[in-house]
């Protein structure tokens, strides 16, 4: 088991290393000149102003020292938690902007991921039992999983928000309110949260349900299922075993899908003007605020790696084969 975790941790450490290196490499080796792009955006008229700006940005990127030192400095900054200064909200540090946005994103993501996974597994297993139901819902699930997150979000915002007027659209809470522990504020927060949550939930749900259905059908054809049936075990017991065993690959699937769901959250937030990380992404892109964008990238990578590690631990807890008498070779 120690070997299992050791290996996983090594992969995560290497992944983080690769991510940081990508982050460092891209501004330096991409065609085009990011500094010029940013200076151009500032719209300065005088050559002196442009020159000063250039110098300022160059030192921000750390272009004024040898390449190897730039790289080490970059790591130094990251380890100190210093991701540079946002140009969009100058002179706010990137880290504090991101930390301000993260809670909203997590408030959207965590319930959407966990509930869609749970519900998808339940419904998927249920559909695998009934041919009629299966034929009816499977196409719906395929449509859901093929839907771009932002499109479902747009449809919901338009149909349920604008046309039906059931939910407010835009911002995490009404502009007239200030955050406080009051009934009014909390209901307002929840009503703004619901639609983005629902659209994230639905798209992810389709994928989980399909995955579970397929896995259960596969497990029901496994040898242990046939053996139990041959000994007259009722279908209920066989299905219970099949469901539990089918959950294991779904847990692995959860880890693999994290990045995609985070992407879904980004675009969903953009649709709803929900001021989380996704909204910051859009703002950063619009303002060519590369520091902010890179900071968000690193945050997403770290978040996904942490979540992966949590999932690894859960997996070991639920799959006896990773624990039972083996050094962790899987």
């Amino acid at each position: 088991m120690a070997r299992y975790f050791g290996r996983k941790l090594l992969i995560y450490a290497l992944t983080f290393f690769v991510a940081v290196t990508i982050n460092w490499l891209i501004p330096r080796f991409m065609p085009g000149d990011p500094v010029r792009a940013m200076v151009a955006r500032a719209g300065l008229q005088t050559p002196e102003g442009v020159a000063a700006m250039r110098e300022y940005y160059s030192s921000l990127f750390g272009f004024d020292v040898p390449v190897w030192q730039q790289y080490l400095n970059f790591w130094g900054g990251i380890l100190r938690g210093d991701l540079g200064v946002s140009l969009l909200a100058f002179p706010e540090p990137v880290t504090s902007l991101i930390l301000g946005a993260v809670p909203l994103t997590l408030g959207l993501l965590i319930p959407a991921i966990l509930l869609s996974w749970w519900a998808g597994n339940k419904f998927g297993a249920y559909a695998a039992r009934k041919k009629v139901l299966d034929n009816a819902v499977l196409p719906v699930w395929y449509v859901l999983t093929a839907t771009p997150y932002m499109w479902l979000a747009i449809l919901m915002a338009w149909a349920l928000g604008k046309v039906a007027g059931l939910f407010p659209v835009g911002r995490p809470y009404s502009a007239s309110l200030v955050p406080e522990w009051s009934w009014l504020f909390i209901t307002d927060l929840v009503s703004h949260w619901f639609l983005p949550f629902l659209s994230l939930f639905l798209v992810a749900f389709g994928g989980w349900a399909i995955g579970m259905r397929n896995m259960v059908i596969y497990e029901l054809e496994a040898d242990y299922a046939h053996y139990l049936s041959s000994l007259g075990a009722p279908p209920k017991l066989v299905r219970r075993y099949a469901f539990r065993n089918a959950l294991l690959p779904q847990i692995t699937g959860l880890a693999l899908q994290l990045g995609v769901i985070v992407g879904g959250a980004v675009v969903t937030e953009i649709v709803f003007d929900y001021r989380g990380l996704g909204y910051l992404v859009l703002e950063a892109i619009k303002a060519t605020d590369f520091f902010l964008l890179q900071g968000i990238f690193l945050f997403i990578v770290i978040g996904v790696l942490l979540a992966n590690f949590v999932i690894d631990i859960v997996y070991v807890l639920v799959d006896p084969r990773t624990r039972a008498g083996m050094g962790g070779d899987r």
């Binding site: 992944t15 999983t145 604008k162 675009v267």
Partner: protein, 307 residues
């Protein structure tokens, strides 16, 4: 955006142990697969939807004008002259949709081919060679697998000042291959142990030939399904990038249409004809492909056939 993997990793129809049925190979299998293929409603239906959109994307752009030109009255609802209405700026939504379809198929195909080839090379090599080569390749695969692809694409795309559909397809392809490599590696491992591969090895065939002449054909049906899943995933990735403002800097795509619609408040203005068609087209194409895949899985894997 979840790519549902094929139910079975089985390659080649294993004619299951039905007594008295001699194992058929070669042409028999192919003819049988064709027999089931044309009778599979999911496969035929999905294919029909995809073909309709593909034709629209291939032929349509020839019949309409410049998708970005300001041709009509602004914000007009669908009418005889503009069947899908116009944008806030008077651009023809139908023209944008048809050009966008072309971009969608281009991105999907190119990205899927790139990711498929990388995934196959890495998977076959690791699975066949084993040992240290496999260790290293597997490590790389695992690293790219946990990297959140969209975030990486976001960074790369942001720094590219000129982006076109092909560049987008290439970067998507470069980061979408790990699950393919994993799946193919696992299958190669199991195929490698089979007799016919042993036979080839004993007769002194070089590794490359064994992989491409003996192993790959046995996985052909599986590779085809992999391609479809990669296509669907890439189309969704591209649409997401376009939507957050990292789409092609010239030209139009379905994701970019959604981006514009959102940016110019089409929702608030009730201009549904602006944002419904592009999303619907993506959903229909990707959904039809996934359904096709289920059909293919049933065709190639006799166990799943409904009797």
């Amino acid at each position: 955006m979840t790519a549902p993997e094929p139910v079975s990793g089985e390659s080649g129809p294993e004619v299951a142990a039905v007594p008295g049925v001699a194992t058929v190979r070669g042409t028999g299998v192919r003819r049988e697969a064709l027999y089931f293929a044309v009778r599979n409603r999911k496969l035929v239906g999905g294919l029909a939807v995809v073909v309709v959109f593909l034709l629209a994307g291939l032929v349509g752009p020839l019949l309409v004008g410049d998708p970005l030109a300001y041709v009509g009255p602004p914000a007009a609802a669908p009418s005889g002259e503009y069947p899908l209405g116009t944008t806030t700026f008077g651009q023809d939504v139908l023209a944008q949709l048809l050009h966008g379809l072309r971009a969608t198929f281009l991105v999907g195909t190119v990205a899927a081919l790139i990711a498929g080839v990388i995934g196959m090379l890495v998977g076959f090599t690791g699975g066949y060679r084993g040992g240290l080569v496999d260790e290293v390749l597997n490590m790389i695969t695992n690293i790219v697998l946990v990297l959140p692809v969209l975030a990486v694409l976001m960074i790369i795309a942001a720094y590219l000042q000129v982006r076109d559909v092909l560049v987008q397809a290439v970067i998507i392809g470069l980061f979408s291959w790990p699950w393919v490599a994993r799946a193919i590696r696992a299958q190669t491992f199991s195929l490698r142990a089979r007799e016919f591969v042993d036979l080839a090895r004993l007769s002194g065939m070089p590794v490359r030939r064994i992989v491409f002449r003996e192993i790959a054909p046995n996985m052909a049906s599986y590779l085809f399904m992999v391609f479809i899943l990669l296509f669907g995933g890439s189309v969704l990735f591209a649409a997401t990038l376009d939507f957050i403002g990292l789409g092609p800097t010239d030209g139009i795509s379905l994701g970019l249409m959604l981006n514009h619609a959102k940016q110019w408040s089409a929702m608030n203005l009730g201009m549904w004809w602006w944002f419904v068609p592009p999303g619907l087209a993506i959903t229909a194409i990707v959904g039809a492909m996934y359904v096709m895949n289920v059909g293919l899985d049933e065709v190639f894997n006799p166990k799943l056939r409904e009797t």
